[in-house]
């Protein structure tokens, strides 16, 4: 492999708008003007649709990598923050409606289903599909649409660190330290993913595949960002992290097998092999130290943690359904197919 060129060396161009809301955000940023949009327009947007999800994605990216030609100070533009607030309410309101908690909503109940593995093949699981019959092209699509997350893997969860203390903080920092390479830049998980993308002949530049990424995959990252950026949602962010770590190990095992079966390459295999073992450890630390530590200190957050778990399962299930529907019908799961 050639010398590594950092995926995040540059800020990406603004993506293409997908409707009136995202167009107003992209235009305001691109032309350095104030954003102009009415609350009625936001209220009319599909909370899970391309337009609203892309608008949220662009607004959150101001906090991560920014955009080429956009003033970095727009991150704290009060009008953009006001709009983001409306969009977040619309998105999270719809998530709450679609994934309601029951009476006496506990974290154990919310997580219990995730701690059971299906016996044999699970036809609703995207990783089961990719393990059994995923083609190299489908694995490339999967990597491309996951790249808005994995090229900044664990960054959305780092926002929660100053909001935690004691056991929860120590556990969270320890897991994040591992995610960020434990002192070795070449082992940062985002870097391991860029290496995977190179094995799959994908462009590793940050933001390169956003225009091809479907709303369901943007929603997955937007959920982490909205939970991470609000101190009020620290419980839900911890719930989100628990789902990621609990489900990652067996899912990564299946994806590692898919990479091996299709001859994707050593870095592609390594990314998922590393997550099998690392996340078996992270799961224990997140459940015993981060979740239990947070709830020991702030027991009133239990419904929030449970909501974070349910919200994550909902959003990931919606993404899995989109991908499986497309692939089973022989179609691309992306908004536009990848160049060969």
């Amino acid at each position: 492999m050639a010398t590594y060129r950092e995926s995040r060396a540059l800020s990406p161009p603004l993506p293409e708008a997908r409707g009136v809301v995202s167009a107003s955000v992209c235009t305001a940023l691109g032309e350095g003007r104030a954003v102009a949009i009415t609350p009625e327009t936001v209220a009319a947007a599909d909370p899970f649709g391309d337009d609203l999800q892309l608008a949220l994605h662009v607004l959150y990216e101001l906090h991560y990598q920014g955009f080429d030609g956009v003033d970095d100070r727009r991150e704290w533009d009060p009008e953009l923050l006001r709009l983001r607030h409306h969009l977040e309410d619309r998105f999270l309101g719809a998530v709450r409606e679609a994934a309601p908690g029951g009476e006496g909503d506990t974290v154990d109940e919310a997580l219990a289903g995730l701690l059971v593995e299906p016996r044999g093949h699970d036809p609703t699981s995207m990783t089961h599909f990719l393990q059994r019959e995923g083609t190299r092209e489908q694995l490339r699509e999967y990597a491309a649409l996951r790249s808005p997350y994995h090229l900044k893997e664990a960054d959305p969860h780092a926002w929660v660190l100053p909001r935690l203390h004691g056991r929860a903080k120590a556990g969270m920092v320890a897991v994040e330290f591992d995610e960020f390479g434990a002192g070795h830049p070449e082992s940062i998980h985002a870097r391991l993913f860029a290496d995977l993308m190179a094995d799959l002949d994908l462009d590793i530049r940050y933001g390169h595949y956003v225009d091809a990424t479907p709303a369901e995959a943007l929603a997955s990252v937007n959920l982490m960002s909205t939970l991470g950026l609000h101190r009020a949602r620290r419980g839900a962010l911890v719930g989100h992290f628990a789902v990621v770590e609990v489900t990652s190990s067996p899912g990564s095992r299946r994806l590692a097998q898919a990479m091996r079966r299709t001859g994707a390459g050593p870095a592609a295999e390594h990314f998922y092999d590393e997550h099998v073992e690392a996340d078996a450890v992270h799961e224990q630390v997140v459940r015993r130290e981060v979740v239990a530590g947070l709830l020991a200190d702030e027991p009133h957050l239990e419904p929030d943690v449970a909501f974070g778990v349910r919200a994550t399962v909902l959003v990931e299930d919606r993404l899995a359904a989109r991908l499986l529907n497309a692939w089973r019908a022989g179609r691309s799961a992306l908004r536009r197919p990848l160049p060969p």
Partner: protein, 70 residues
């Protein structure tokens, strides 16, 4: 952290915590790969399990470095 398996092979992990396999089902033995999890049919996937899964199942334990090392 070093773990020695029954064949005498030494495995090394540099993780801040290691999860040792004690159910013997791990394909990454001696490290845990979550193979201990209870199995259910696909449609039962989201049914609540008893208690805390791995905690109540107690087949795998995460241990701090220097903990239950063979």
């Amino acid at each position: 952290m070093e773990a020695v398996d029954r064949a005498g092979k030494t495995c090394v992990s540099n993780r801040f915590v290691v999860a040792l396999c004690v159910c013997r089902r791990s394909r990454s033995y001696p490290w845990c790969d979550t193979s201990h999890r209870r199995r259910a049919r696909g449609e039962e996937r989201l049914d609540p399990a008893d208690g805390r899964g791995a905690r109540s199942g107690a087949q795998e334990e995460g241990g701090r470095d220097g903990g239950d090392v063979p």
